[in-house]
C-alpha cells in the first residue's frame, strides 16, 4: 500500500462538505414533510446540467450563473410540491414514493434528451487549479466544495432560527397540526420548504459538476450519498449530517486510494447498507 494517506483524508474531508450540502435538501424535505424525495439525486443532477448549460450556452461562470439556476430550481421545487407531492400524500403511503420514482426517471430521461447520455463536466479555470497545504498539492475545487458546504449550512441554520419563514418551517417540521393552530399556512410552508431544498440542490449540483464528471444517471449515486450522510448523522441534525458527509467523503477517497477508483462507490454502498442494518438511528443517534 502506498504511504501517503493524508492526501486522501484531506480530500475526503473537503468532499464531505459538499456531500453534506447534497444531503441538506433531502433532509429538509424529510424533516418538514416526512417524505423521502427519491428524485432528489436527479434534481441535483438537473442543477449540474443547469450550470453546464449556463456556462456552455451563455458563457457565464457557473458560480455567477447560480443567479439564474437557483431561482429556476426554486420554482421547479414549488411546482413539484404544488402539483405532485401535495396531492400524492393524500392518496396513500405508497403514492409519494411511486410518484417520486416516476419523477426521478422523467428527469433522468429529460436530461438525457437535452444533454445526451455522454459524461459531462463543468470546466472553469478554478476547477482545474490547485493549492498547497501540508506540502501537498490538492485540487482547488475541493477546497471550494468544503467552503460552500459550510457556508450554505450556516446560512440555512441562521435562516431557520432567525427569519419568520425559517421558524415557521421548523415549527411545521416539529408538529404540523400545532403549527396550523398557531396560524401558520402549512401548505405554503411546504411549497417553500421544497423550493429551498431545490436551491440547495442547485448549489450542490453545480459544485458536484465542477468536481466530478456526471451523466444523466448520476442521480442515483448522489441520492445514495445524500441518504447515507443523513442516515449516518441521524435525521434532523444538521451537525450530524455534516459529519455524515465528511465520513462518507473520507471513506470514498480512502477506498479509492487502497482499492482503486472502480471500487470506491461499491465500498460506499456496502457501508451504507451495513449501517442501515446495524445502526438505522445513525452513528450519533440514541
Amino acid at each position: 500500500m502506498s504511504g501517503d494517506i493524508l492526501t486522501p483524508i484531506l480530500m475526503g474531508v473537503m468532499l464531505g462538505g459538499l456531500y453534506a450540502l447534497t444531503a441538506l435538501g433531502l433532509s429538509m424535505v424529510f424533516g418538514v414533510m416526512r417524505l423521502i424525495n427519491l428524485a432528489h439525486g436527479d434534481l441535483v443532477v438537473l442543477g449540474a446540467y443547469g450550470s453546464y448549460a449556463v456556462l456552455t450556452m451563455l458563457g457565464i461562470d457557473p458560480i455567477l450563473g447560480l443567479v439564474i439556476t437557483v431561482p429556476l430550481m426554486f420554482c421547479i421545487g414549488i411546482l413539484i410540491q404544488k402539483y405532485l407531492m401535495s396531492k400524492a400524500v393524500t392518496i396513500g403511503a405508497e403514492a409519494p414514493l411511486i410518484i417520486a420514482f416516476g419523477l426521478s426517471l422523467i428527469i433522468q430521461n429529460a436530461n438525457q434528451i437535452m444533454f445526451s447520455p455522454q459524461s459531462r463536466g463543468i470546466n472553469t479555470a478554478y476547477s482545474q487549479a490547485s493549492f498547497h497545504i501540508f506540502g501537498r498539492q490538492l485540487p482547488m475545487i475541493y477546497l471550494l466544495d468544503f467552503i460552500v458546504g459550510v457556508v450554505v449550512m450556516l446560512v440555512m441554520q441562521e435562516f431557520l432560527k432567525r427569519t419568520y419563514m425559517g421558524r415557521a418551517i421548523s415549527a411545521a417540521a416539529q408538529d404540523t397540526r400545532a403549527s396550523k393552530l398557531m396560524g401558520i399556512n402549512t401548505k405554503r410552508i411546504y411549497y417553500y420548504a421544497f423550493g429551498i431544498a431545490m436551491v440547495s440542490a442547485a448549489i450542490a449540483g453545480t459544485f458536484l459538476g465542477m468536481t466530478f464528471p456526471f451523466t444523466p444517471t448520476s442521480g442515483t449515486t448522489f441520492l445514495t450519498i445524500a441518504f447515507g450522510a443523513v442516515i449516518i448523522g441521524g435525521l434532523g441534525s444538521m451537525m450530524g449530517t455534516f459529519l455524515g458527509g465528511i465520513i462518507l467523503g473520507v471513506v470514498q477517497t480512502l477506498s479509492a486510494h487502497f482499492l482503486g477508483a472502480n471500487a470506491q462507490m461499491l465500498v460506499l454502498y456496502v457501508i451504507i447498507l451495513i449501517l442501515l442494518a446495524f445502526r438505522p438511528q445513525g452513528l450519533f443517534g440514541r
Binding site: 392518496i91 411511486i98 419523477l103 426517471l105 433522468q108 430521461n109 442515483t220
Partner: protein
C-alpha cells in the same frame, strides 16, 4: 371477504387454466413468432408485477430491488450452465439464491420503516451491478462489458419451450397470489398494512411475516428472471441490474391497479403494448413511462381496475369470479 378462510372454488382455477391452455396451444397451431414473443413477455411481466404487488400493494413494502432478484437468479442459471449444471436445475437454483439473498437483505432493510425501506432497497441493484462489473465468477473470454455471459448447453431447446415455461410460471404466480392473500399470511399482512403497531399488539409477528413475503417475492421474481435470461441467451450487468426493470414492474402494477388481484394482469398487457410501441422511441421511452406512471397515480390511484370498479357489470362479473 376477510376474517374467514376462503375455499378456492374449482371455477376459479378453471378461469386460470383454460386461457393458459389456449395460449399454450398457440405454438402448436403455428401462431406467428411475434405473438409468442408478446405473450412470453406478458407472462414474465405478469409474474414479476404480481410479486411487486404482493410487496408494495399488500405488504406496504415499496421495493426497488426487484432487479437484484431477477439478476441474481439469471446469473446463477447462466453461470450454472458454464460449470455443468443443467439449465432446468439452474432455474430453481437461481430462485433459491434469490430467496436466500432476500433473507440476507431482510435483516438490513426491515429495520427501516416505509420511507427508508425504498432507498435502502434502491441501493442494492446498484451495488450488485458494480460487483458484476468487477467480478467475473468463471473464466472464459470477455463478452461485452464486465461479466457478460452466453447461456451454454441449450442448443436442444426451442423458443416454444421458454414460452411454455413462462406461461406455467405466470399461472403459478396468479395461484400464489390467490392462496397467499387468502391464507393467514395474507390476513396478517392486511393487519400490518392497516396498522403495524396494533397488529403487533394483537400477536402478529410482523418481522417474520415480512420476511416470508419478501422471500416468496424474491424466489418467484428470480424464477421469472432466470426464464427471461434463458430465452434471452445472454446476460450482462448493466441491462440486468437496471432501474428499467423496476420501472416496468411498477408501471404494470400501477396501470392495472395496485392492491388488486386482477391489476397486474391488466397492467402487464398494457406494459407489453407500451414496450413494443415505445421501442421506436427508445430515447424517450422512460420519459413517457414516467409521465404515464405519475398521471395514473394521481388521476386513478387504483389504475384500470379502479376505473372498472365504478361499472356495475364489472362488479357483478368479479363478484362471481371471486366467490
Amino acid at each position: 371477504m376477510m376474517g374467514t378462510k376462503m375455499h378456492t372454488k374449482p371455477t376459479v382455477l378453471l378461469g386460470y387454466l383454460v386461457p393458459a391452455l389456449v395460449l399454450a396451444l398457440l405454438p402448436v397451431f403455428g401462431a406467428p413468432r411475434s405473438w409468442l414473443l408478446y405473450i412470453f413477455l406478458f407472462a414474465i411481466y405478469l409474474t414479476m408485477a404480481n410479486m411487486w404487488n404482493l410487496l408494495a400493494g399488500y405488504s406496504g413494502l415499496v421495493s426497488l430491488c426487484q432487479p437484484a432478484f431477477l439478476g441474481l437468479a439469471g446469473y446463477t442459471m447462466v453461470i450454472g450452465t458454464w460449470i455443468g449444471i443443467p439449465w432446468y436445475c439452474g432455474i430453481f437454483l437461481g430462485a433459491i439464491v434469490a430467496a436466500l439473498f432476500s433473507l440476507l437483505l431482510s435483516n438490513a432493510v426491515f429495520r427501516l420503516t416505509g420511507v427508508y425501506f425504498s432507498i435502502g432497497t434502491m441501493v442494492v441493484p446498484e451495488a450488485l451491478r458494480m460487483v458484476f462489473y468487477l467480478w467475473r465468477p468463471v473464466g472464459g473470454s470477455m463478452v461485452g462489458a464486465g461479466a457478460g455471459y452466453m447461456v451454454k448447453g441449450i442448443e436442444s431447446l426451442r423458443p416454444d419451450h421458454f414460452y411454455w415455461l413462462a406461461l406455467a410460471l405466470a399461472v403459478v404466480s396468479m395461484v400464489i397470489m390467490r392462496v397467499v392473500l387468502r391464507s393467514d399470511l395474507g390476513l396478517g399482512l392486511a393487519a400490518v398494512r392497516d396498522n403495524e403497531k396494533s397488529a403487533a399488539t394483537a400477536g402478529v409477528n410482523v418481522f417474520k411475516l415480512k420476511v416470508y413475503t419478501f422471500m416468496i417475492a424474491g424466489a418467484v421474481t428470480g424464477l421469472a428472471g432466470a426464464i427471461y435470461y434463458l430465452n434471452n441467451g445472454y446476460i450482462e450487468p448493466s441491462n440486468t441490474f437496471n432501474v428499467k426493470w423496476t420501472m416496468t414492474l411498477i408501471l404494470a402494477t400501477v396501470i392495472g391497479g395496485v392492491r388488486t388481484e386482477e391489476g397486474p394482469f391488466l397492467g402487464s398487457i398494457v406494459a407489453v403494448f407500451l414496450y413494443f410501441m415505445l421501442a421506436r422511441y427508445s430515447g424517450y421511452s422512460l420519459l413517457i413511462q414516467g409521465i404515464i406512471l405519475v398521471v395514473i397515480m394521481l388521476a386513478s390511484p387504483q389504475g384500470i381496475v379502479g376505473l372498472l370498479r365504478k361499472l356495475k357489470w364489472y362488479r357483478n362479473f368479479t363478484g362471481y369470479v371471486a366467490d
